[in-house]
């Protein structure tokens, strides 16, 4: 069967360092919008680390949750797009076809995770910063919606390579930029269609939960919540 790409994020490992965010910027040609636009809440971070405080001093706790496109199986963003710019790919990704996007921003409204980012202006790189741009990824223009693609360019490259070498893809062979960079190895990427894969194993684990799972969007990102320490555990 076709691959079903998915991810597992262990929040007990995540320390909110933002490495994934920068990795994503570097890999996916995400432009910086600058102070003025950032103040208008137009900054684009395909992956963001949500931070929530709980309790009051001195009994304060902080919770980090990296939130990226959940690549839902029942994605609210897909049916609402009038031009099929947002659609379900054969490998279960929520595709975003930039050239087909006319900028209704309906998908962004429908997305409960608010992980879709809109190009309110044409992006700008002050030369020679543009030399860093990744030639494997489009540079999106004004009026186009964009979002996490699970680094589809890396997926495609590996698939093409595997085909050339006449072999199957190995589990863990494909690593989106965020997964690759994560200093605590909190993120795991793989094929949910393959029950043997690491990501499937984690998705099956008793700890696995989905973000806003109650909405029935059937996300393909599994979160393993922060554990607590029990003396007994190691005694």
């Amino acid at each position: 069967m076709a691959h079903q790409w998915g991810m597992a994020i262990d929040l007990d490992r995540c320390n909110g360092c933002e490495a994934c965010v920068v990795a994503c910027h570097a890999e996916n040609n995400i432009s910086t919008v600058g102070e003025e636009q950032a103040a208008l809440s137009r900054a684009k971070h395909w992956i963001r680390v949500e931070r929530y405080y709980e309790g009051e001093f001195p009994d304060v706790r902080v919770k980090f949750t990296p939130v990226l496109c959940q690549q839902c199986d029942a994605a609210p963003c897909e049916p609402v797009c009038p031009t099929f710019a947002s659609y379900h790919t054969s490998e279960g990704l929520n595709g975003q076809v930039y050239n087909r996007c006319i900028g209704t921003r309906y998908c962004a409204n429908a997305c409960p995770y608010v992980v879709r980012y809109f190009n309110f202006y044409n992006p700008i790189w002050e030369k020679p910063l543009q030399l860093q741009l990744n030639p494997d990824v489009s540079v999106r223009e004004e009026g186009v919606m964009e979002k996490c693609t699970f680094c589809v360019q890396r997926i495609k490259a590996r698939e093409i390579q595997a085909a050339a070498e006449k072999r199957e893809l190995r589990d863990g062979e494909i690593q989106p930029a965020c997964v690759q960079s994560c200093p605590t190895r909190a993120m795991v990427f793989g094929d949910l269609g393959d029950p043997e894969s690491e990501v499937s194993r984690l998705a099956r684990s008793s700890r696995a939960t989905k973000l806003l799972g109650e909405l029935g969007t059937r996300p393909k990102v599994n979160y393993l919540p922060r554990d607590s320490w029990h003396d007994s555990e190691n005694a």
Partner: protein
């Protein structure tokens, strides 16, 4: 039917005027003959080294063909060349094992920064006016050599000063040799967040003048006193890898992590238990924990060995540190202290570490020694899951302190004719009280090797821009992060974009032009040669299983990004008998009645010490806790804010005995009511288009207090008062602070 046919039908006629030059060579830049033979669209991965912080992580650079606008012999044109496209961790490297922190990944933007200095500059306007003239390397080097030879002729003591960031390896050797030949002091190493207190403490306690390599991964109980070890402290990537392993790397076994500090750091945010402690009381707290462990016979006092013997009253079981006795001063409940002590004692291995603000109080050294003693008592020193020491090269702590040098020069006690600057920005990163700027103004000739105009290099008379790290030969000998001996090396990942030269090459060139005994002391023609020589020596010393001779050893090292031992290195501790120290209470400048709040600067997860404030990525990526972008903030406890009638985003004025600054307020539950925290990094007066004039610099208002027994700055020893002065500009990426919306509270 074709899309554009459809359009032509509905098209406005005649709207398509011909565009000049499209598809016609006459209207385009000339193209230079490529120097490299590249296949477009195919990436190659080259090893490199991250130089943005002292951790020294190994990099893999993704290089692809691209077209760059370059100037070659005075003409602008396009050149097809290999361009770095992405930085990732080098999986083979023992320190970061393929992983990389956000700062490291932004290194790309250093190379491609629009405001990089594109060639040698000579000052034309008055000093600091920022008016420079571009010159060729020959002229620039000539000027440098001339100044130096004049100095040599004058035979005057210490006429040459060289201020650098902490360096390691051959660059340090070259600089020190160079400076020494001028009968000067050794180079002056300066960084705001330096590790000299910890080095001093470790030298005393364990006989290793090195920062610790904390093996968190296999530890079962980690107590951190103020160290932001998952964010910026010591070797964050290595420590993060360990943290992940401790938490979930060992099925059925999950270590506990306790953090003591005044403000929830990014590290504290990940702790199983976060416990606020009074500023500067960390040492006392550590000893109180030790007291419980000894008193309850979980461990014998003698188990702490030499490290314990350095603490007064240790052998007696630290009678003065009973939890109930110190609780008030420490600000932690006695029962909590006792519980943590019992938990830690019950876990093996358990480790305690200290860093950042905890050692930046006047009693920082005592705090460090106390925590070292606790680690020793927990029996985790030199064992897996505990504190290890890598065989760092530069074990000797830096000789001269910038502070004393600056005061001598500005007072005229020392006359300096030539000052060389490399990777250090003391005008920004040292307290105004040190008078670095005044000192620099007294120096007749300043040359900077920096790649950017910053507050310090703006004062230079001559600028000899270094390559960016990716364009340059690199070597490093990390002193922490791996128990193995690590010697990293990397050839340039790409050709230089601009007319730049490696600092070491320029220095060697100058040395040869100066002649004299340099021929002997600095025998190498280039930096590359120097590194190769060091590897030849390394091969002689260590040998190799895989390489048959020094050349192959050298080649292999370049391919994999360095050489590292297969086994943890065993370095003999050099223990020197020390006298027992007694608890010393932290001193704070500014009396508590007039300045009611402790001022706590902290390293920014993204801007580090401000040296990365010029990278747009680092400016726009939200800070992990505040989610602030493109600016700075003053962190205030809600109760304090209420008392002072300060609202989120209000502009507040922070006043210390040594100065004042203004920044927007961020009301956060994660900070003690009597503490005001502020990230270091913003507030540059002159540091590229992205950082200049943005926010305020907390360093500027710090008191020049020192950590007792060391030369380094006690940057957490300042008190402040604050007041609301108006509306500020606070740009946050995050909306609500908490998951349960404030609106819901109405119910």
């Amino acid at each position: 039917m074709e899309r554009r046919d459809f359009l032509k039908i509905s098209a406005v006629a005649g709207a398509t005027a011909a565009l000049e030059g499209c598809g016609n060579p006459d209207h385009q830049l000339i193209r230079f003959v490529p120097e490299e033979d590249l296949i477009p669209g195919i990436a190659t991965w080259k090893p490199s080294i991250c130089t943005l912080c002292p951790a020294g992580c190994g990099l893999l650079v993704r290089v692809m063909a691209g077209e760059a606008e370059v100037v070659r012999n005075g003409q602008l044109g396009l050149l097809k060349m290999g361009l770095a496209k992405k930085l990732e961790g080098n999986p083979a490297h023992p320190i970061n094992q393929g992983k990389l922190c956000p700062r490291g990944q932004a290194g790309l933007q250093v190379t491609y920064h629009p405001d990089r200095i594109k060639g040698p500059l000579v000052r034309t306007g008055r000093r600091g006016s920022g008016q420079f003239r571009e010159v060729g390397w020959d002229e620039a080097t000539k000027q440098l050599v001339q100044k130096l030879s004049e100095l040599k002729a004058s035979k005057q003591e210490g006429g040459l000063a060289f201020v650098t960031a902490p360096l390691r390896g051959q660059r340090k050797t070259i600089i020190d040799t160079f400076v020494a030949s001028f009968k000067g002091l050794t180079s002056i190493e300066f960084a705001f967040f330096d590790d000299s207190v910890i080095r001093a403490a470790n030298a005393a306690s364990f006989g290793h003048a090195l920062p610790p390599t904390v093996d968190i991964g296999t530890s079962n109980y980690v107590i951190s006193f103020g160290a932001d070890f998952l964010g910026t402290w010591n070797s964050p990537v290595a420590q993060s890898l360990g943290f992940g392993h401790m938490r979930k790397g060992r099925p059925g076994q999950r270590g506990k992590f306790v953090q003591f500090e005044q403000r929830i750091s990014q590290t504290g945010a990940s702790a199983d238990e976060w416990i606020p402690v009074e500023p500067g009381a960390e040492g006392m707290l550590a000893l109180s924990l030790a007291h419980v462990i000894i008193a309850e016979n979980k461990q014998l006092a003698t188990a702490a060995g030499h490290a314990g013997s350095l603490i007064e009253g240790w052998s007696l079981g630290l009678p003065d540190y009973a939890p109930e006795k110190v609780a008030a001063q420490v600000g932690v409940k006695p029962e909590t202290i006792a519980r943590i002590a019992r938990e830690a004692a019950a876990q093996d291995p358990a480790v305690a570490l200290i860093g950042d603000a905890a050692v930046a109080h006047t009693n920082g050294l005592f705090n460090a020694l106390a925590v070292n003693a606790l680690s020793a008592l927990l029996g985790s020193v030199g064992k897996p899951g505990g504190i290890l020491f890598a065989s760092g090269s530069s074990a000797k702590p830096p000789a001269a302190s910038l502070q004393s040098w600056a005061s001598e020069v500005s007072s005229g006690a020392t006359a300096v004719d030539v000052l060389l600057l490399y990777n250090a920005n003391p005008v920004f990163a040292a307290p105004a009280e040190w008078g670095v700027q005044r000192a620099l103004e007294k120096v007749p000739f300043i040359a900077s090797f920096g790649s950017f105009i910053d507050e310090t290099s703006a004062l230079a008379d001559l600028i000899l821009p270094d390559h960016s790290p990716l364009e340059s030969w690199l070597e490093d000998t990390p002193v922490s992060g791996s128990a193995k001996t690590v010697v990293s090396v990397a050839p340039p990942a790409m050709n230089p974009l601009h007319n730049t030269r490696a600092m070491a090459d320029v220095l060697l060139d100058a040395a040869h032009q100066l002649g004299g005994d340099f021929a002997k002391t600095l025998p190498w023609k280039t930096y590359e040669e120097a590194i190769q020589a060091s590897f030849a020596a390394l091969y002689k010393e260590k040998g190799s299983k895989t390489a048959k001779d020094a050349d192959e050893f050298w080649k292999k090292a370049q391919e994999q990004g360095g050489w590292w031992s297969t086994e943890p290195s065993q370095v003999a501790a050099v223990i020197s008998a020390g006298t027992a120290v007694k608890n010393s209470a932290p001193q704070f400048s500014g009396d508590s009645s007039q300045y009611p709040y402790h001022f706590l600067p902290f390293a920014s997860q993204l801007l580090y010490d401000g040296s990365l404030a010029h990278l747009p990525w680092m400016q726009e990526v939200p800070d992990p806790l505040s989610t602030a972008m493109w600016g700075t903030w003053v962190e205030i406890n809600p109760r304090t804010a209420e008392k002072l009638m300060i609202q989120q985003g209000d502009l507040v004025e922070v006043v210390s005995p040594n100065g004042k600054l203004r920044a927007p307020a961020l009301v956060s539950p994660g900070i003690a009511p009597d503490v005001i925290a502020m990230p270091v990094g913003q507030g540059h007066q002159n540091f590229t288009r992205y950082a200049t004039g943005r926010g305020a610099n907390p360093i500027s208002i710090l008191a020049p207090a020192n950590v007792e027994g060391t030369g380094s700055l006690a940057w957490a020893a300042t008190r402040v008062k604050l007041s609301r002065v108006g509306r500020g500009k606070l740009i946050l990426f995050g909306g609500s602070l908490s998951e349960s919306s404030p609106e819901l509270k109405h119910r």
